[in-house]
Subunit: 444 residues, 2 copies
């Protein structure tokens, strides 16, 4: 049986490896457009932060290993062009420009996502770069090494923009962050803590600004936004990503939210035998039960495995995602799981929310810093709907508790009674999340 | 209505404060044997660690505040002697030795627990001290300040012994830890990591040793255990605690496991109108549904609140505890929730367990250290039964996720599908707990 995979990143290579492990006689072929497979994309800002680190450190497993040790027919530099679901073939163009045809019994579309590049004048200018693939990371790192870059404008302050702010400031570069909104999916009090930290670290924030054009001015790039102009040596574009679903749509495969490829809980698309996983595919949200598109690394890996299992005789159904995310920016840990109050209202809940501030350590324990906890619950059902947090310690791991609670559809009252262990260096007796739950219970 | 409380520590003062807040016209009287109320007992090792810190820093709220601002009739230096459930009175002895009688409509027994002092020759010698109450902490800190203490034997390496090892080593004192077993409730691989860290920090461990006698030898104390003798300037006794349930038993109130006062989910004892909370009372275990006695601070506070609510017209039922605990020892965070494999077998489950080692940070992210995760599941039901962890970072908060899962009676399979967010500084893509769950699933 031929298992063909389009895309050799997290979802594709997870599926390939696991399918081959599950069923060693399976023919597994992977078509990867670039030359890079299996690398830590999320690690790029941290690698770029340190000029001494080789960007190739991020490669987890080299193509040869997949080919030679795992027996996967991994073809790099090969771009899939069309899928013919009737004939069960994929047409692709190899790195020499030659057309090739790959038959399949089962197909996985793991084409990932691409950075959105605003359609403004000058967006193609040299020195204007996104950060999504390893090639982008290489390009940025090389650009910083070769050019005497002193100043950078980051267009878009999403996770990449925030993480790169830290990376670039720690290389002592002047950073201006240009964005339409600022952490719009977060509670304003949580966002305020992040904003203040960026400012404290010398990041110049220009909010409510929309990019209008980019021009080359001598050795500088001039960025015009909402009428004002600023100059920089480099421009990082991080306004978001979009799913690479064109090849699926052209083959008649149904798309879901944000034009991501629509998949069922088994990761199968609207066309039987064709699966999709990773940043190109949608998922069920465990709180709403509705489809969403929130492309993150864990889901890509998990969905890749599930596809492999389902292609090799299994019947794995993924419950879905809880909308969990975490990032570090300077000394802050910022995390969320579930719905924000506005997302909850949009999904038909009657949300109540609260934001509390509590110390990270016990009474009189040295070194405590504040943690802000924002919690959203449903007035109708009492359900816990979401939690957001920010603080200097204990946030990134702590968020995993309410993430589990969301999977279990716990009420705020249930969550408030959980036995979260305590020791003075790690928490007050009442964990800040329990304090938030106790406060929220008074409102719902 | 008279609400009388025996014991002015965590459970007693939580109940008193909340009852008065719930119903300001309630007569709330608290009888506290010592002069100390409302202090962070768990903070004592960390306070003792630093000679410059005043032990009184640990007082959270002073007696006057309870009396003057909150209107609680708090009587310190008053020891309750007997309860007469027929006449609804408590007889007590005040600090002058005078007998007093306190009537009640509702009674809370919050007498806490006392350190077990092994019944060996010399246990009363000066310089042999437990650490449970604030007075103990004061005594130890004064003893260290006044005497030229260079060496200490700790009898019993439970949480107090482990935390005090760190505190005393950081004061550059020679520490010998003497114990029958070592972290017997933990997986041997988890215990090994802790043991090695103690050794690396110069703690001399003498395991499988039973204290036989203590003698004064000049200015030293000679400790004899299993025939061998060692000398020290001070002896800390931390072999465990027992519930102060004598007053309850004498009044005909039923006792539960380990002679703790037996309470229902409303914290009421076998005698209607008499409640118990805190270290003297038992609790339901959410995994087994059976009664257990695991005296810890969060439960004391939570149960105190629940009693207050139930005494003032509420009907609060506590689901119980998950057996969650966390402590720090030197650079390690150690945590557990739920059942160990042997506890699970004793409770009638068919446990399977696994211990995995994973890095604390993502591939190629600098500064990663190992995390060991031990996970126990039930072969019959697939349920998650318990998790234990040790590592230098990310353990104390991480354990809260499986604690929540235990409250929700999740299966290992359910837990393995939870959306635990990832960023390179905080975790591999697959959280070590998810890796453990994935591995354990192969066995159950």
């Amino acid at each position: 049986m031929d298992f063909l995979i389009i895309g050799g990143d997290a979802a594709g290579m997870s599926a390939a490896s696991r399918a081959k492990r599950n069923q060693p006689d399976l023919n597994v072929t992977v078509l990867e457009e670039t030359m890079d497979v299996s690398y830590s994309a999320c690690g790029m800002p941290y690698n770029i932060k340190d000029p001494k680190r080789d960007i190739e450190d991020l490669v987890v497993r080299r193509a040869e290993v997949f080919r030679e040790k795992q027996g996967i027919n991994l073809i790099t530099g090969c771009r899939a062009e069309t899928i013919d679901p009737e004939k069960q073939v994929v047409k692709a163009v190899d790195h020499k420009g030659g057309e090739q045809v790959f038959p399949y019994d089962r197909l996985l579309i793991a084409t990932g996502a691409s950075p959105v590049m605003p359609e403004v004048e000058g967006i193609e200018t040299e020195g204007v770069m996104p950060l999504k693939r390893l090639a982008d990371g290489r390009r940025i790192k090389d650009f910083l090494a070769v050019n005497s870059v002193r100043s950078i404008v980051i267009v878009g302050m999403g996770y990449i923009g925030l993480e790169m702010s830290e990376a670039l400031r720690s290389r002592d570069l002047a950073v201006t962050g240009l964005s339409r909104g600022f952490m719009t999916g977060y509670d304003p009090q949580i966002a305020d803590v992040v904003r203040q930290t960026l400012i404290d670290h010398g990041v110049i924030l220009q909010e409510n600004h929309v990019l209008e054009k980019i021009e080359k001015k001598g050795r500088k790039l001039a960025v015009t936004c909402s009428g004002a102009t600023c100059e920089a040596d480099m421009i990082l574009v991080g306004v978001g990503v979009r799913p690479n679903s064109g090849i699926a749509a052209s083959a008649g495969i149904a798309l879901g939210p944000k034009n991501a490829i629509s998949v069922d809980r088994r990761l199968e698309t609207s066309v039987p035998g064709i699966f999709s996983a990773g940043d190109c595919a949608d998922a069920y949200h465990v709180v709403t039960g509705e489809k969403v598109w929130i492309p993150l690394a864990l889901l890509a890996n998990r969905a890749g495995w599930a596809v492999a299992d389902n292609v090799t005789g299994g019947d794995v159904h993924l419950p879905g995602i809880a909308g969990s995310a975490v990032f570090k920016v300077f000394e802050l840990e910022v995390a969320r799981t579930g719905l924000s109050a506005s997302e909850a209202a949009a999904a038909g809940f009657k949300p109540e929310s609260i934001t509390i501030k509590a110390p990270s350590r016990a009474h009189a324990h040295p070194g405590a810093t504040p943690i802000h906890v924002h919690m959203v619950g449903d007035r109708k059902s009492g359900r816990l709907l979401g939690v957001q947090m920010v603080g200097r310690e204990g946030v990134a791991q702590r968020i995993k508790a309410p993430a589990v609670a969301l999977h279990a559809a716990m009420t705020v009252a249930d969550f408030s009674q959980t036995d979260l262990p305590y020791a003075p260096p790690f928490s007050p007796v009442w964990d800040p999340m329990l304090t938030a739950a106790n406060q929220l219970l008074k409102k719902i």
